[in-house]
């Protein structure tokens, strides 16, 4: 009584609607990576000497490192000399002073992506920093946020305008020595978002960054730093898309979060980089290091991610639970279809007493996709009374895909409690038939079943984006079942 496998396979196809290229004149550095490249980027951004030195140190360290091979993904060796490390739309005279001066072509592109940079419309009430290739093209609602003392700007501006904050926190959560791609990012990072919420301030609107890769042969290496001071809270969202190209493009970002006493940071990602075609040609390599430090007492960091794009996803948004009673949460939906590969999960490092963490991971595999959950729960000796709950569920659609779970648990004291649950299910032909029998066609049934499967994660997303995420999931799995 099985749904015919051939029908499933013949219908596996995926449409990517953000695959267009914007025709703007851009200036890119020639491909290649050396200390000169880095000095060039640093000079271009008028950076202070300490930052240039930090980049060079990172680069030298990176040269001593080897590309990691432990992750459960396969790809040809990356030629780091073939990548252009800096690309920006050609400035017309001086840099735009306000959004009114931004190239209309860029504004139009963001409109097309559904991310209006004008402070009105569908996303009115959400502040956006728009990153196009290597630079920020605009940040909305800055003045309004500034009234509350909130700093929300591009990373490059933060370096120039708030060097003391950047210097204090840059690399404090993800040191340049952390891993291969973090070292590379520290050497060549170009732009990203910076956010500081002062003591006791609740950020009155969602903050978001929208990343767009446009230029060919370029990599995107952004750096994001968010600091919530004592008692502050902020909800932050990032989205990403890229044109369809036959070559693979590298996206190696670093995101650092710092939450002080009683501060709360909620970081949500809807990742929809170009995944490559059904034969696995093209697509983004999404090799990202994201980590949050719960530095103060009762600090709280939540990572929510919906990962549907990229040829390869390799990321583990993690929490270091240093402050007593601090709390880390990780909610993830990762979807692979066609030839996509994902190796994603989290690390929860419990250091402080009575720290708590929750991990809910939902992996969906269709086509020939390979989906791995990899997670570490480490409870140190100092973390008496710590608690963790992990739940990792996998759903398979068709029989050519794979789901893998690699949980690591280390507990160094006797007063902590760790729970781990894992399930793997095949999307039931029985479930689909049941829906059919009630008049619901197969594709709608799959969307419904998958969305039900992911519900626990979607409910963690900010409202506007939960709806987007559900739609995105529908698009990603289009035609995955016959």
């Amino acid at each position: 009584m099985s749904t015919d496998t051939e029908t499933i396979e013949s219908l596996v196809k995926q449409e990517y609607k953000y695959g267009f290229v914007t025709d703007v004149e851009s200036e890119s550095t020639p491909p290649g990576l050396s200390e000169d490249t880095i000095r060039h980027i640093s000079a271009k951004k008028k950076e202070p000497a300490w930052l240039t030195d930090w980049r060079i140190k990172s680069f030298r360290y990176w040269q001593t490192m080897k590309e990691p091979t432990w992750q459960f993904v396969k790809y040809p060796k990356i030629d780091f000399q073939a990548i252009s490390y800096f690309s920006q739309p050609k400035p017309k005279g001086d840099a735009p002073k306000s959004l009114d001066e931004v190239d209309p072509k860029l504004l139009e592109m963001y409109e097309k992506l559904g991310i209006p940079l004008r402070e009105r419309g569908r996303l009115a009430g959400v502040a956006v920093d728009a990153i196009f290739d290597s630079v920020s093209v605009g940040t909305t609602y800055r003045e309004e946020l500034a009234k509350k003392g909130i700093i929300f700007c591009s990373f490059s501006e933060a370096v120039l305008e708030h060097p003391e904050l950047v210097k204090k926190y840059l690399g404090s959560v993800v040191p340049y020595t952390d891993n291969y791609y973090a070292a590379l990012n520290s050497a060549v990072f170009t732009d990203g978002s910076f956010c500081y919420i002062p003591k006791g301030v609740r950020c009155p609107m969602e903050l978001s960054t929208y990343f767009r890769i446009n230029a060919a042969k370029s990599g995107q290496f952004e750096r994001t730093l968010i600091i919530a001071d004592e008692g502050a809270s902020v909800s932050y969202l990032e989205g990403c898309t890229a044109p369809m190209r036959d070559e693979n493009q590298l996206h190696a970002a670093v995101v650092e979060l710092v939450a002080l006493d009683n501060a709360k940071i909620k970081y949500s990602t809807v990742q929809n980089w170009y995944p490559g075609d059904e034969n696995g040609v093209g697509g983004i390599y999404n090799f990202v290091t994201k980590r949050g430090l719960c530095k103060g007492k009762n600090a709280h960091i939540t990572w929510t991610q919906v990962e549907t794009g990229s040829a390869i996803t390799w990321k583990y948004p993690s929490c270091i639970l240093l402050g007593e009673g601090s709390k880390g949460e990780f909610y993830s939906v990762a979807v692979v279809n066609n030839m996509q590969q994902a190796d994603t999960g989290t690390k929860m490092i419990h250091i402080g007493k009575n720290t708590k963490s929750t991990i809910i991971s939902k992996g969906i595999s269709a086509g020939k996709g390979q989906n791995s959950y990899r997670g570490l729960v480490e409870i140190r000796k100092s973390a008496g009374g710590a608690r963790n709950f992990s739940q990792c569920d996998s759903m398979l659609i068709g029989n050519k895909c794979g789901a893998h779970t690699f949980p690591y648990i280390e507990v160094k004291n006797t007063t902590s409690r760790v729970e781990h649950e894992a399930t793997t299910s095949k999307i039931g032909e029985d479930q689909i038939f049941y829906c059919n029998q009630r008049g619901i066609e197969t594709q709608d049934a799959v969307n419904m079943i998958v969305n039900g499967f992911c519900k626990e994660v979607f409910k963690e997303l900010p409202m506007e984006f939960a709806v987007e995420a559900q739609k995105l999931l529908g698009v990603s799995l289009e035609g995955s079942v016959g």
Partner: protein
Amino acid sequence: MSKQPILEINNLHAGVENKKILKGFSLTINAGEVHALMGLNGSGKSTLAAILAGREGYDVTEGTVKYLGEDLLELDPEERARKGVFLAFQYPVEIPGVNSTYFLKAALNEIRKSKGEQELDAIEFLNLVKDKIKLLELNEDLLKRSVNEGFSGGEKKRAEIFQMAVLEPKLAILDETDSGLDIDALKVVSSGVNKLKRPDSAQLVITHYQRLLNYIIPDFVHVMADGRIVKSGGKELALELEAKGYEAIVKAQ
């Protein structure tokens, strides 16, 4: 006035892979009628239900099935459902995370759309659903839960009848709806079925035991053995079956 035939099954032969299960099954059901189909396990009752609903994996080798004059076997399962064929499952599946109300609204609106009727909005739907809940004396909690998730056997069967009440099928097939029910649940389910009886629709009640027919009074009872109907009669046939056992009736044929 001749009655309108809803379902006409004529000399149906069908099976899975190399195993023949239905061997010349014929049955006509008219509007307003309730038919009970009884038989031992393995006689082909559930196979018939599955084929009528359009489940994949069965080969029909001979015979015809007409539904409202149309070739039923040509239609996809969802098309059959939209045209009013409803199967109350013997083992309703769980769909975790999918809210029952949402599910049922999607189903009803698909059916309405196919009939060219306007889709119901959330409020209209909720009013409809509340009426049906009252009619069947069910607990409103049902609406807030995920489709069949964590339901007891009895709750699942009640939920099936509730779906039937909302979708108002032309032909309802109840596949062993009584199995696994205690007497109280049986009463609730069968009184629901009785309330849903309408002159323009029909019900095919598949059961193993006579006890369900104490509550759902059929117009016709058919005894099935080895893939076809061996005896048909009125409601008294069920009592005879209970008294004498299947063996005696099947052998006497």
